[in-house]
Symmetry: C2
Subunit: 281 residues, 2 copies
């Protein structure tokens, strides 16, 4: 499993692949890979001749009060997990390779970034779109893979690609769940046994919403009310948000007529969990 | 001479060219082509197998108080001039093709855009970088051609390409001048005979600066003072700015030690003219 650290070298390798007619999939990550990332790598491997996994803890998506230095890193594990899942190589540049002195140009998607997770993290998604745009230009993949778990991130990238005409197909991969329905997340390890049980209210409330939608309910307010009541029955759960939004623009919807995203964020004890589903796409 | 209006069609054509191993040059323009544009097209033709000239009056680089609708247009002339200079086709999309409903993502280069022409036009260069980024993603050229006449625009594009790693070589083409030194510009037709004569102070003041630099002068202030005095001798000329800036960052330089750009903007009667030169690159 090759570890490539320079832009020059990854460009040379991809250029050779392209000359040989190979298709290229890109899985952008911040490393510390787990089963969720592996499912993206596996799908990329199934759909492309070559797969690049980028591992880069991107400083521009952290704000001053978020601790970049404590973000977990384990490149040996990343190499192993990527290899297992079928990656061709890892691209793992230094910060100075991606952001040399004088760097001062950004890609910013508006609208879609100003709600949900972006409401409290005003520069986060600007960092995400900038680094993903850079990775698209460096690797020039045919397809790039993002998880539906981070639904807003996927919508932001889709808007960027659509608006700026990046020649890349964005593939949004389904949420991977435990058998009982809990969305897989590296944060689940923080849950006590009792909290782990309580955390089921997230996926259960989404199931309730799905059922109401399938039965023809059009009122976002009624659905959110039912979900809220379900989650409030669980004493360990504290709702951060429950939203029903247009699946592209992420703006609130009152009457459900087109495809919607239902994203929720709930604190279980000290652990903040997110989950979502798309209906009607 | 083909006129292509959709993104889908230009992508198909370029894709065929690339499969056949052809190199592609892009000359982005707002149309109403003149000899200056033709010099860019000729250089693109000399260095690439195929040349795309884009003709698009880009609304995002006009502010509300600038008259987009009165910007001159003449696509028949553009086709003729492009053909003459060796272009393969013109890409001439509608505004709705480039900016469909819901468009809301921008590329913005900071620092370099906040001075000179950008100081009084705060969103102008954001529009330029956004549309040029889109054109790069649509056409995927090997090389893109910009005129040194718009020195700041060239520096802004160079920063964008460097910072966002666009896989495009930016080629900056020299200023085309009349025999007596006046930089060619579509605005020169507005000059009366007397003003046309007076307009020579621009290139003459730059020649003075060049001479001082060649003789080892390091003080930006002294050079600017000499240029100012030269231009002030011409009663029809009114200085907008005379600057000596770092050729990359466009930030003011006091002591000249590395490559500098000397851009000037001068009103001759009612006509605002710009000129510049780079020293020490």
């Amino acid at each position: 499993m090759k570890l490539i650290t320079t832009i020059k070298e990854i460009r040379e390798i991809v250029s050779e692949w392209k000359k040989a007619g190979k298709t290229v999939g890109l899985v952008p990550t911040m490393g510390y890979l787990h089963e969720g990332h592996q499912s993206l790598i596996r799908q990329a491997h199934a759909e492309n001749d070559k797969v690049v996994v980028s591992v880069f803890v991107n400083p521009t998506q952290f704000s001053a009060n978020e601790d970049l230095s404590s973000y977990p890193r384990d490149i040996e594990n990343d190499l192993e997990k990527s290899h297992e899942a079928g990656a061709s190589l890892i691209f793992h540049p230094e910060v100075s390779e991606m952001y040399p002195d004088g760097f001062n140009t950004y890609i910013e998607a508006f609208g879609v970034t100003e709600v949900l997770e972006g409401a409290s993290r005003p520069t986060h998604f600007r960092g995400v779109t900038t680094v993903v745009g850079k990775l698209f230009n460096i690797v020039q993949p045919d397809r790039a893979y993002f998880g539906q778990k981070d639904a807003q991130q996927a919508a932001v990238i889709e808007q960027m690609v659509r608006d700026l005409n990046f020649p890349v197909k964005v593939v949004c991969c389904p949420i991977i769940r435990e058998e009982d329905g809990l969305a897989k997340s590296s944060r689940n390890v923080y849950l006590s046994e009792e909290e782990r049980e309580a955390a089921l209210v997230l996926s259960q409330s989404l199931k309730l919403a799905k059922k109401m939608l399938e039965q023809g309910e059009k009122s976002a307010e009624k659905i959110k009310q039912t979900m809220t009541e379900k989650i409030q029955q669980e004493p360990l759960a504290e709702i951060d948000y429950i939203k029903i939004v247009d699946h592209r623009s992420l703006q609130d919807v009152a009457v459900i007529e087109a495809a919607v995203l239902i994203p929720i964020a709930v604190r279980i004890g000290n652990t903040r969990l997110i989950d979502n589903f798309v209906f009607g796409e």
